[in-house]
């Protein structure tokens, strides 16, 4: 199968809407089909990475488990927009999984070199 570089941008907080789940599921599918997948957390999407979430209290599934599967499926790095973190007073130590923090120029380059960008 042909290979393309697909970048998924997740920009919503985890439980208020189902958007976060939609982006993860689509990215996992792309990884299963052995595409080159980038996964970028931006805006309220960085809230998905906060530690110590337990969504059972709202009859939902804690999103961290789905995020951990990203690596299992060959999505090597979770990428995070530095501006979005700073705006929310978060840093790498606050996050539940290891991430690579991208500065503005790196985020721009990521978008520029991707064949497809999916931003739900």
């Amino acid at each position: 199968m042909q290979q393309k570089s697909l970048t998924f941008i997740t920009r919503q907080a985890p439980y208020g809407s189902n958007k976060a789940k939609l982006v993860i599921d689509a990215a996992l599918a792309a990884a299963v089909f052995e595409q080159q997948v980038n996964f970028l957390f931006m805006d309220d999407g960085v809230f998905q990475l906060v530690q110590n979430q337990t969504a059972e209290s709202i009859s939902s599934k804690t999103i961290g488990r789905a995020l951990e599967t990203l690596e299992l499926y060959g999505i090597e790095q979770a990428l995070v927009d530095s501006v979005s973190l700073e705006e929310r007073a978060l840093s790498a130590e606050d996050l539940a999984i290891p991430v690579k923090i991208l500065n503005v120029e790196q985020v721009r380059q990521l978008a520029a070199r991707s064949d497809v960008v999916i931003n739900l």
């Binding site: 393309k4 599918a29 089909f33 595409q35 999916i118 931003n119």
Partner: protein, 129 residues
């Protein structure tokens, strides 16, 4: 040019679905190919056969159905999005012992692999959210 469309909004609740439909018509009228329309999340409600609207309004699921059929365009409703929203073909309806079939005939239920395939096979993937 070979397009695919990703539609993830409900026709009843937001304009994105209508914009996608208008875009699809314009692309086809210019002679372009639409490889696949993928309905995802609330977008699966675009393939809702049970939807009815007042006579002076457009029934967008019916409009999609006619357009996709007339131009022989493949469309897919994501299976997990469809099941939770009660969009069922006759197989799924029987399997879940349900009282109805709610998927338009022009659309099939399938997995996210069809979105990935559309991303790869098409020259442009246009998302309407």
């Amino acid at each position: 040019m070979k397009f695919s469309l990703l539609v993830s909004t409900s026709p009843a609740s937001s304009q994105g679905a209508m914009t996608a439909y208008q875009f699809a018509r314009a692309a086809v009228s210019q002679g372009h190919e639409i490889y696949r329309v993928f309905f995802y999340g609330d977008g699966v409600l675009n393939a809702n056969a049970l939807s009815t609207v007042p006579q002076d309004e457009i029934n967008l699921p019916r409009a999609w159905d006619e357009f996709l059929t007339n131009h022989n365009i493949e469309s897919v409703a994501c299976v997990s999005s469809a099941l939770i929203r009660g969009i069922l073909d006759s197989d799924e309806s029987a399997r879940h012992k349900m009282t109805g079939v709610s998927l338009l005939e022009s659309t099939q239920i399938a997995g996210l692999g069809q979105l990935v395939d559309a991303s790869i096979q098409s020259e442009r993937l246009i998302s309407f959210a």
